[in-house]
């Protein structure tokens, strides 16, 4: 791995840099690796596997995963998370797309201020804003309901949806709209046939981001659903059993939690890049 060319930078300097990089990698990848390792470990090896932090699984097995996928409770929780995430996307898009369309293509007075305010909502730390939101929701009888959680997640996602969506709509050249109008299209037709399809890549990215946000969400879900186990999301489920269950099971659940995140993140990246380069209309 060491570059064989002699370069002006001294060898010792480079060794130092190299070591630093390795350390950083270990710190970042370490937990992930351990997670994977534990998830495929035999239930006994966790306690008896020789050295305190064994590098390699003692007895690699998928028994943790098998157990999970035959547990109906786990499925219920998985479905809960999926259900909530999906509906968050739907609600978020329904509310966010019209807003971002207007903010992205019309010069209304105070537009910049509005956008700034919307995005600054997310500057507040989650736990700080949880209390008032939850109090409010409880007053409306949404404590421990699917609706409450979906609404809360939508709240969190909406600023991003609007911001990304506005950017997507803004990037569409005005000429296209003008041309559609001259060809006889009214505002609805212009939106549905021209603007919306062209904003799709950006909106898709926003949708995926919303999914990840909701799927990952812990704090709001925790404060809103505590007590009612049947509607727990995956994150809450994990939290509830963190002291009880054996580590390999926990690790397996964590991996299940993480896979959609990683997969979708990759997808979004590809889409975003493609969207940028195809954006040049001429």
């Amino acid at each position: 791995m060491i570059i064989s060319k002699q370069s002006p930078v001294s060898i010792s300097r480079r060794m130092l840099w190299f070591t630093g990089v390795i350390c950083a990698l270990v710190i970042v990848i370490g937990p992930v690796y351990l997670l994977l390792k534990y998830s495929v470990s035999d239930i006994n090896s966790i306690n008896t596997g020789g050295s305190p932090v064994p590098m390699w699984p003692y007895n690699p097995t998928l028994q943790a995963y098998v157990y999970l996928f035959s547990d109906s409770h786990f499925y219920q929780v998985l479905l809960n998370s999926l259900f909530i995430s999906l509906f968050t996307i739907i609600l978020g898009m329904v509310l966010g797309i019209p807003a971002s369309y207007v903010l992205g293509r019309y010069k209304i007075p105070g537009r910049k201020v509005l956008l700034l305010m919307i995005i600054s909502v997310r500057l507040f730390p989650d736990i700080a804003s949880v209390i008032p939101v939850v109090e409010f929701f409880i007053k409306f009888g949404m404590h421990q309901t699917y609706l409450g959680v979906i609404l809360a997640h939508t709240l969190l996602a909406l600023p991003y949806i609007i911001f990304i969506g506005a950017g997507a709509f803004e990037s569409i050249p005005d000429d296209l709209e003008g041309q559609a109008i001259i060809l006889g299209a009214n505002r609805f037709q212009t939106f549905f046939k021209i603007l919306f399809p062209l904003a799709m890549p950006g909106l898709a990215a926003a949708a995926i981001y919303t999914f990840l946000l909701s799927w990952d969400e812990f704090i709001f879900s925790y404060f809103l659903m505590l007590g009612k186990q049947e509607i727990y999301t995956l994150t809450l489920y994990l939290n509830g059993i963190k002291y009880a269950e054996p580590q390999n099971l926990l690790a397996a659940i964590s991996v299940c939690l993480s896979i959609p995140v990683i997969a979708f993140s990759f997808m979004v990246q590809k889409y975003m890049v493609a969207g940028i380069s195809a954006g040049s209309v001429k």
């Binding site: 109008i181 060809l183 062209l198």
Partner: protein, 369 residues
């Protein structure tokens, strides 16, 4: 049947008056160009005709119908943008069908029109391609096709050739003329390129700061410019201008300038005889200056000037020569490739007096119009 009549049109953005008291009449089937430098309001006028910009005051009539309040969707016009504005997510076929679908034409009619326009503009093989897969010239034809398929009363074109390279521009402009001849539609064309305007239009409306400077056939604009601006804008290379005043020498009236004592043709000489001392701006087109290499007969209305050829610019089939008199005045003229002029050559040139344009320096108007 579509003539366009514009009366007292006004438009402003904030305090900036873009169009001022504009009057224009375009006959049915005519090819008219709105020509002018950037920012003179020609594109704004086009957009107002299309309905994309509101008319502040004044009237727009198309075919006798008042169009001011009619929304752009309902106007039977078509417009081709400078960027072509092809819908990037639709194939060529879908792009062309777009307007027809909105109009809810029958399937058979749509197909029929589609086939017709595809053949007219030679787009047969490109039907299923996306805009990003075809060349600039092809995109321009698709944009045209998309507009023509709706059988508009008036076709509006906003600098459709400016994104093409020179060779393509020629073929594209020929094609446009062919389409105009074949279909006989009223065409309003916007450009800042005077060569385009001169070759393609039946009449040119020369714009300047939101007003029409002159509205005439290309030939008239060239031979008989109404104002200094018209004379300067039309014609390439640019016209030579000299300040001077009317003087009578040896019982002959002419224009005294730093360049020379300019002689005119007999008729005009008679007219200016009665205006000695009047201040004048004289304009001489480079093409109306001859050099003894020319085999043309010299007329007594020619003014002879001795110059030193300072610069010779080879432009292919002709060359532009910049000459300087002893007194220091510059003059530009054209020579053909058969003539050879070396730099720093002393020579005599002859200015055709019949083709000198005389303007009043204050009103900027052509005195003889």
């Amino acid at each position: 049947m579509a003539d366009v009549v514009i009366r007292s049109l006004f438009k402003k953005y904030g305090n900036h008056r873009v169009i001022e008291n504009l009057n224009l009449e375009i006959h049915d089937g005519e090819f008219v160009t709105l020509l002018g430098p950037s920012g003179c309001g020609k594109t704004t006028l086009l957009r107002m005709i299309a309905g994309l910009e509101l008319i502040d005051s004044g009237e727009l009539f198309i075919n006798g119908k008042l169009y001011n309040r009619i929304p752009p969707q309902k106007r039977s016009l078509a417009m081709v943008f400078q960027s072509y504005a092809l819908f990037p997510h639709m194939t060529v076929r879908k792009n062309i069908y777009f307007g027809m679908k909105i109009k809810k034409l029958s399937k058979s009619e749509m197909n029929r029109k589609f086939e017709w326009v595809i053949n007219l503009l030679r787009l047969k093989e490109l039907e299923n391609r996306l805009p990003r897969e075809i060349s600039g010239g092809q995109r321009q034809r698709v944009a045209l096709a998309r507009s023509l398929v709706l059988d508009p009363e008036v076709l509006l074109l906003d600098e459709p050739l400016s994104n093409l390279d020179a060779a393509l521009r020629e073929t594209a402009s020929e094609e446009l003329k062919r389409v105009h001849r074949q279909l006989g539609k009223t065409i309003i064309y916007v450009t800042h390129n005077q060569v385009e305007a001169m070759t393609m239009s039946e009449r040119i409306a020369l714009f300047r700061f939101g007003r029409i400077e002159q509205y005439d056939k290309p030939r008239v604009l060239y031979d008989s410019p109404a104002t200094v601006f018209s004379a300067e804008f039309i014609g390439s290379p640019k016209m030579n201008f000299y300040e001077g005043e009317i003087e009578i020498r040896n019982n002959v009236a002419g224009i005294k300038t730093d360049l020379a004592f300019l002689k005119l043709d007999k008729e005009r000489e008679k007219t200016i005889f009665s205006m000695p001392g009047r201040k004048i701006l004289a304009g001489i087109r480079p093409q109306t200056i001859y050099y003894t290499g020319h085999l043309l007969r010299r007329r007594y209305t020619d003014t002879e000037v001795e110059i030193l050829a300072e610069l010779v610019e080879n432009m292919g089939d002709r060359s532009l020569v910049v000459g300087r008199t002893e007194a220091g005045s510059l003059i530009r003229f054209i020579i053909t490739r058969e003539e050879k002029i070396d730099q720093d050559k002393r020579m005599k040139i002859f200015i055709d007096g019949r083709r000198i344009h005389i303007f009043d320096p204050i009103t900027q108007l052509n005195i003889f119009r």
